[in-house]
């Protein structure tokens, strides 16, 4: 093994004193302070800042309209154009969910239902938002395009029970989604 000798840089007197460097730093900070008061910080427009620097004043100001389309918020169930619940409770999301936040109890669609040929739908569908890590695996694995991560991110609750989204709540958050593959139409 070869040893390489590295020579330390020689420090000049001003370097050794540190004082000029401190003033250099103060000057930089002062420049930014002035810019920020004048609302001229770099990127303040793009980041929708409050006008003071690039800081956003949450929760008075929110990011919502700047969220990208692919933002991963609360997972929820969706219905299609015909108001059919798309979930058929195949339980793949329950299987894939890394923190085991999803719990499904499958049920049969009664034979007098309009969608009896689909045969299966969830009887209960619960997502525990204290467990959810917003990874989006459930959306990715769903073979029926039934579960989507929405843009909501501020999930709050005073008890653990409040943090569990049940089937009714999940459809409320998810709402209707159009333009999806409709594999349960007549042609099948």
């Amino acid at each position: 093994m070869a040893f390489i000798k590295i020579k330390r840089p020689e420090l000049s007197l001003s370097d050794k004193l540190y004082i000029p460097a401190i003033f250099k730093g103060l000057w930089l900070t002062f420049k930014h302070a002035v810019k920020s008061v004048r609302g001229k910080s770099i990127g303040s427009k793009d980041l929708a800042s409050s006008g003071l620097g690039i800081t956003m004043q949450y929760p008075e100001q929110k990011w919502d309209e700047h969220l990208p389309e692919y933002y991963r918020g609360v997972p929820a169930l969706v219905t299609d154009e015909q108001d059919r619940e798309r979930c058929v409770s195949c339980q793949l999301c329950e299987f894939i969910c890394p923190p085991k936040a999803i719990k499904i109890i499958p049920g049969e669609i009664p034979s007098d239902d309009e969608w009896a040929k689909v045969e299966k739908r969830p009887k209960e569908f619960e997502i525990d938002m204290t467990r959810c890590i917003y990874c989006g695996m459930c959306e990715e694995v769903c073979p029926e395009q039934a579960i989507y991560l929405r843009q909501d991110y501020a999930v709050t609750g005073l008890t653990r029970e409040e943090m569990v989204n049940d089937k009714k709540r999940l459809y409320e958050i998810g709402g209707k989604r159009v333009g999806l593959v409709n594999k349960w139409n007549e042609l099948k």
Binding site: V88, Q91, P106, S111, K117, V118, K120
Partner: protein
């Protein structure tokens, strides 16, 4: 070639043992004469995908999935001697067309190729045809996760369909029997279920109608699939065409834990797999054991597990107070109280009633309990029915043979009448009951039980006997304990713990052990169920040196009772006639 004349050729060596030499994917193996090619491949550990073939059923060869390439030595010209290579085998002449492996038997010097371009393209083609009309409803199909069509389409199928026309529509969700639901669109016409109902269940209720792509599985007019063996068709169905009404849409199979165990509903002791998730049983299916139940199981037995999941399960020991209501107590208090009262009674005033559904370990300890109490009034409750000529034995108690061996008696039920009379005449003042509701098969009446000074009983669910008991000890169900049982033919088999008993309940053998310990301070301590089996081995010759690992999944014949299982007798006859492989 002088060596060849002195040394034996491989074909002669194999023929001496009734074997033939077969080359599977380049390796020579010896298999018994008359073996099907598909079985030879299985012996060589080469997978041949198949749907219609089942070793216990006849081979119609209609799914065409098991196509392999076959070769035989070229036929010598007249007067020409066969030519042997240096390794003693003849050159294999490969056939240009594939053959089905399930319905052809092997021959000397045969070659089989389970891989290669021809075989792969055959499988590819067969898969594509099978999937043409198959619906894409795997997300709702109960078979998903254990579906051969799914598995082989991953291995041999194409990613997308080239079929542009509309799929053929067939009846869905057809009610063909009380326990089975049929979905004709998913059916791939393997005919396993038809053959099973015809050949094994002796109730040919199923058949095909129409032809070509419109072939439809259905029940014969005026028939229903209501045989007590109908659920086996759902087990052997390679796709989700036949599904169990009981298990349908309950849980996906990939969540379930499989525990190998045995059935405790009759003396046959069919081998089972118990499928559980958490502390809930979802289904029970048969497990292959060619000495007990082949691959099958009666519906009545496999569906008899729902009570284990019941909300009403007893989960705390209870002592009846003076006002007649039961109060929760601790295990130590309950056992101590029982022992105190038992101790002040004379041996002739104490009787013990066990159950033929208990394990060997529990029955052996009941014998020890009787010894500790110095009573000889020890019996089981008989449960005789009628054999169905297949797998349901006349004796509905699972472990009668075990009791006969362990208690060294001809008839473990002999003393029940005497005990019942003794209780009625108030001669017997205390009764210890395990796992039996005396008001049912045992023939006791509620007023008989009121005569007793002490009734200690062990149950898993509340019932009439528990209501009349002074002390109730909650126990474990068949899926919640380890242990062994001896079936009607004398085969020692193992029960495994699939789930934990409810919190507060205890394994039955531990209850009996604690009761013995409370009565007899000098009793040898038993810490594990293995210790009990060891003690049995020391005391009962038939169990000598038996351990749970020796019993294994398939069991050991420890005695010959002379009884046989009718379904197996029939199967052996069919193997002899060459109808099935077995």
């Amino acid at each position: 070639m002088s060596e060849a004349t002195t040394e034996k050729l491989p074909k002669d060596v194999a023929a001496e043992d009734g074997m033939v030499n077969v080359q599977v994917d380049g390796n020579w193996i010896q298999v018994p004469k008359g073996t099907r090619m598909i079985e030879a491949c299985k012996i060589a550990e080469k997978e041949v995908p198949h749907y219609c073939y089942h070793p216990k059923l006849s081979s119609p060869g209609n799914c065409r999935m098991c196509l392999v390439q076959m070769g035989m030595p070229p036929r010598p010209a007249p007067g020409e001697d066969p030519k042997f290579k240096d390794d003693g085998f003849q050159e294999i002449g490969w056939m240009p067309r594939p053959v089905i492996a399930c319905a052809n038997t092997v021959a000397e010097n045969m070659g089989i190729r389970t891989t290669g371009e021809l075989v792969e393209s055959c499988r590819h083609g067969v898969m594509e045809f099978l999937l043409i009309n198959h619906p894409l409803d795997c997300p709702i199909c109960d078979q998903a996760g254990e579906c051969s069509l799914q598995e082989f389409s991953v291995e041999h199928g194409r990613g997308n369909s080239r079929f542009v026309d509309n799929k053929v529509k067939k009846p869905k969700n057809v009610d063909i029997g009380p326990r089975i639901r049929l979905d004709d669109e998913r059916c791939i016409m393997c005919s396993r279920c038809i053959r099973f109902m015809d050949e094994v269940a002796d109730d040919p209720a199923l058949g095909f109608t129409d032809r070509g792509t419109h072939t439809t599985l259905t029940v014969h007019p005026g028939h229903r699939l209501d045989s007590n063996y109908s659920l086996n068709t759902a087990d052997i169905c390679p796709v989700g065409a036949l599904t169990s009404n009981d298990f349908r849409f309950q849980m996906r199979v990939w969540f379930l834990k499989e525990t190998k165990s045995i059935d405790t509903n009759c003396g046959t002791g069919s081998n089972t797999v118990i499928w559980t998730r958490g502390s809930e049983i979802f289904r029970v299916t048969p497990r292959e054991n060619n000495e007990v139940n082949s691959c099958w199981m009666p519906d009545s037995h496999r569906l008899n597990f729902h009570y284990v999941n019941s909300e009403a399960r007893l989960n705390t020991p209870m002592i009846r107070n003076t006002s007649g209501t039961h109060e929760a107590a601790t295990w130590a208090d309950s056992i101590q109280k029982a022992a105190e009262v038992l101790r002040i009674h004379q041996p002739g005033e104490i009787a013990i009633i066990g159950s033929g559904k208990q394990t060997n370990e529990e029955l052996f300890l009941l014998g020890k309990l009787a010894e500790a109490l110095e009573t000889d009034l020890l019996t089981l409750v008989p449960r005789m029915g009628e054999s169905d000529g297949k797998l349901v034995a006349a004796d509905r108690n699972a472990n009668t043979t075990g009791a006969t061996l362990l208690w060294d008696t001809e008839d473990p039920y002999a003393k029940l009448d005497a005990i019942r009379e003794g209780v009625r005449s108030k001669k017997i003042k205390t009764l210890v009951v395990f796992y039996e509701n005396l008001l049912e098969e045992a023939g006791f009446k509620e007023e008989d039980l009121a005569n007793l000074n002490l009734l200690v009983s062990n149950h898993i669910l509340p019932n009439g006997t528990a209501k009349n008991s002074h002390i109730v000890l909650p126990g474990a169900a068949f899926a919640e304990k380890r242990g062994s049982m001896v079936n009607i033919t004398g085969r020692l088999q193992r029960l495994n713990k699939a789930i934990e008993p409810p919190a507060g309940a205890m394994d039955d053998w531990e209850i009996i052990r604690d009761l013995i310990a409370a009565l007899d301070k000098k009793a040898a301590p038993l810490y594990l169920i293995e210790d009990v089996l060891k003690a049995i081995g020391a005391a009962v010759p038939a169990f000598e040196e038996q351990t749970f690992s020796k019993i294994g999944d398939q069991g050991i014949q420890i005695t010959v009772t002379g009884q046989t299982i009718p379904l197996l007798d029939k199967e052996h006859q069919r193997i002899e006639r060459g109808e099935i492989v077995g």
